[in-house]
Symmetry: none
């Protein structure tokens, strides 16, 4: 289905004025695995994926200080890969054409990190961004995220530090990841009250199996004055929606790796709660309606929601990435009727955000 690279489409990311390709490329759990790869092998794999994505029209590349093993490696490898790619084709990889992100909260020190090397103090934000930019070999990122809320740092302190980070030119906009709707609202108004810069986007988990927060809690944030854009992670529900776990854990999957015991545990839960049955039904539906894979259906389904700005693809192999890019033609064919049928299979559609306590026949 994705034999030919599909035309790329864009969505405006919240209030940033930036157009982001609806499919983005994320460096989570990718390449920065020092112990299993020789240096340049990892870089080459990254370059292959980056090249494929860029040529398909992807303009957004997502990273975080904590990504990679050890932390920081994902940024280092992406930075080196981009530098090498710019040597290959300066025009395709010129800085102004790319939207590059990082996320700050957990440091690149991993378990060595002491009490002030994590979180959202101005100290860590300042130290974190400088270390990230160095690893990325960049003067600035386009988007910087607060990777989690920090229970120990008041929102006003965070907004001040993020504002100054943007004003200093080290990022062009800032956002949040896995903050509550209440926290984002608070940050928005604290920024506005103080003549500071409000968060413009959020990076939440969103997929067919995990809908409540994205569809319900965040709902008011997609509207004015917040107009929050979203870069969603885990669109394939940790791989569940690839269908690859239907018959147990494949040997080459992440689940077979050390450090992924949590995923194995999850798999057991999926079996028990009927998720695997749903995946089978989705696979049949995908095949019958679109002759596409379950992954492609799952990715297209995310994008059918206009509140999703871009879906992060986390593939580490070019074949997998190419397959994922094939979600775009599926999206173009998907109707509201298809969405209703998928909702029937999923059986987890959240209630509408507001109770209709005041019904009116609007036209």
């Amino acid at each position: 289905m994705a034999a030919e690279a599909p035309k790329m489409y864009y969505r405006m990311l919240g209030n940033t004025g930036l157009a982001v390709s609806v499919l983005s490329y994320g460096f989570w759990a990718t390449f920065g695995v020092k112990d299993t790869l020789r240096e340049q092998d990892g870089i080459n794999m990254a370059k292959d994926c980056l090249r494929l994505a860029r040529k398909a029209g992807v303009n957004c590349f997502d990273n975080a200080e904590v990504y990679g093993n050890p932390s920081g490696e994902a940024e280092r490898i992406m930075g080196e890969a981009l530098a090498q790619l710019r040597q290959e084709d300066a025009q395709l990889w010129r800085r102004s054409a790319l939207v590059i992100t990082t996320k700050l909260f957990w440091c690149a020190q991993g378990d060595e990190g002491t009490v002030n090397e994590k979180g959202l103090s101005r100290k860590h934000i300042n130290e974190g961004i400088d270390a990230s930019l160095k690893r990325l070999q960049l003067d600035y990122v386009d988007l910087v995220f607060c990777h989690r809320p920090d229970a120990h740092t008041p929102t006003e302190t965070v907004v001040q530090a993020m504002t100054d980070l943007v004003r200093s030119g080290k990022a062009t906009a800032w956002g949040t990841s896995e903050w509550s709707a209440q926290q984002i609202t608070e940050a928005y108004f604290i920024a506005q009250r103080g003549g500071m810069i409000a968060p413009a986007f959020e990076q939440p988990q969103y997929n067919m199996m995990h809908r409540e927060r994205f569809e319900k809690e965040y709902f008011p944030l997609y509207r004015q004055p917040y107009n929050i854009g979203t870069t969603i992670w885990s669109p394939l529900a940790s791989g569940l929606l690839t269908g690859k776990y239907k018959d147990g854990i494949p040997e080459d999957s992440r689940l077979a790796q050390k450090g992924y015991e949590w995923l194995v545990k999850k798999l057991d839960a999926w079996k028990e709660d009927g998720s695997l049955d749903k995946v089978q039904k989705l696979a049949d539906f995908a095949e019958k309606e679109f002759q596409c894979s379950t992954s492609q259906l799952a990715l297209a389904w995310c994008l059918k929601n206009k509140n999703v700005t871009t879906v992060l693809l986390g593939a580490t192999k070019t074949e997998q990435l190419e397959e994922n890019l094939g979600a775009l033609p599926v999206l173009l064919k998907m109707t509201d009727d298809h969405m209703d049928k998928i909702d029937e299979i999923l059986g987890n559609k959240p209630e509408p955000w507001l109770n209709q306590q005041r019904p009116i026949d609007l036209i």
Copy 2:
């Protein structure tokens, strides 16, 4: 246990500067039942309950434009009862000693209500408060609630109208009921930005069986700068926590009445989800630890949470009310250890509000 009227205690209601008795008396589903009672009989029952509550130190009396059958009757009866009580004992019932509330959203027109006779437009807020005050025979209420969020009226419009209602002297403070944390946060900041009056309290459902929103979603609102007070409804979970449904529906309970089919349905659900079993365990615990009823335990448990300002009692018979007031001595004996044991029985303690992504050994 409550043979002697217990001393009353108070809590400050958010930022209002008002001290509210920790047990309040609510007029929901009470007395305004035109078809089953002769006029003065209803008023007399109301007076008996009001007199008992007041003498026990209750100073807060809760109502809403929509309460009663037909809507508006609960206010009318309370208004008339208060007027008659003031004739009996002017000192006890003087206006300045009482905290009287109403709630606006659904009108007193019931099903006849047209599109603009519900909701939170300034038109309905203005028309609603005037009609309520007339029924209550009052010049002002102390607390006025937005009884629900209104999907059709922007928050700024609501805050303006509520602010002007307070400024006009028709209420002394305003709050919300069943708004989301995000909506309350938005209202707070919109008020602050515009030099207007912020909502100071919320009336949510809260009881042993329904904890998530109160304990988790609202958590940040109990702190600065919001400092939201709460007047909680359904502390006995629609009667479940009285223990009276353990052996089916008693004939004289609300559930036997027309219009309460939803409660019957709920009862079935309680059976199935194990709630009735938990109630049995709570009953045993209450008896063993405090020689009190399940209701008293449940009410005291609510008040043990310092974020509860006052618990609304909805009794329609004096015996029932007297029994409920007996929760106060239980509260005085309740320890953190008791609370832990109750949590074990309930098994529904919400996760802490913020994931501890940045653990620090604080002392």
Copy 3:
């Protein structure tokens, strides 16, 4: 086509929280013609139209201090008619179900008006509203308009006076009529800056022949933060779009009356600029596609634009009003394709608001 009264639909009027019927009834040029009618005859005609409109679901009734001959008569007659109708059917005509408007700028003194009896000084706003309410026999109107911008009164002064008028309870929201987009924007921000109430709606001329301002200049105002609602006047272009002038001036039309020389002049212009030819084509299109009248097509066309909240109908005869109400079923059948064909006939579609200097393939 309108043999049976059509079901009514509503639109939310800007930020007011008020639901307004998509067809409203306006008192411009109606009834207040003292010299040609005996008092009660005029009131009866008004009552017939009001009754018909209300029974068809119309909930919004538009007036202005300057309407009628002499000025003020339209309000006086509507006030008396409403009072009499409320005697007939208190439920149908209860105040809270109605959205009643007036507009202030030109006084009810007509040519006798001295320099401070017109305009938007606080003096005239205060004096004007009190006189209007007296004529209307009301305590408050729901909507009050600044009937024109006042070159002699700074916007801040106007916003203050209108805000206080709303806060005093004499109106529940305020708006503008024939202000420029720049003026409305200025008023919005001055209100927000000062913790005052912003204008929530505008009453502009809008019809098939007069589109530029509504579709282009006002375009940004329909969006956040302004969210301006509109109550449009002259939807039939001073009668041109009824088709009745195709063969000259009918004797019973307004154009035959003294004081309507401007309309006669307009008619000449319509002949010359090809408007009458377009009307003929529209009549054919209406007949062929919807078997409806040109008026019904023209009214439905207005409502097809979602930025129109309500269309003011100015009929003075019940037959004419009934005919106009028949626009609603036409609206339900109208497609985007129909709109394109009408645009072809009209040939006056404004350019899009913003030049697309930055084209992006959005999806």
Copy 4:
């Protein structure tokens, strides 16, 4: 007439505190024509014009990232020319004596520009100004313009980015070009609300043939609190007002060049709509009253409007520039009576901004 360099006059540019010569020199469509000129020839021509203008007292030099062919060349050539001129005469060309501008929106990548390389996102504003400053060989420009409104970037985002650009010292003030009055008003108030820097000037098209927007739509902006300055482009209406097209297209005019087909088309329109006749009358009037050229009359006419801060001259040859500078003595002789006569010839005087709905005999 301009044998002797005329004394220069200045006007204050809005709220900037900067005095700008009433005639400025603009680099639109000039010099950056790589294919028709050898590098140093282009620079020399630029230097000749710059030298002439500067010696005549011009202190303002206008440019944009998009000017030149390819885009960016106009800035590069001006930058190099200024550097060389400073070698010639350090005193005359010292930085602090000059007011240098650029405009951001379309990038210097031309058709290669991808979705985020145009518009008014903070990313493009940051990247654009840095690229412009590099081409101009400067540390800062004095004035930076948003070259168009950006439909994809909220005004608040633009105001924040422009404010920070000024605060960073890369420009000393910012303005707009071809924004609507509504947009400028919005930007003004958003800036004020957030403690940010408001746009202080606008660069609109303005000439005898194109008056509506400048004289009517922008009218309120020339007054407090906006006090917008203007640097007007196309004062000679794409050459129409030079009179050179009266007898067809001269071979050496821009219209004979590829890429100017739009001008040829315009010329046809001018013939048809009577513009060429008006130009003839203006030529006669100029000769009779001032013994000056049509151009000089047209330029002086612009400056007679006190809301014009400076008129951009776009000449590419010194003779032409010298001729244009001769408008200044004409301006000194021009009376209101002359203006009335020119209005008679033009027949396009816009209605006054505000309808005089409230006429008062003011003195």
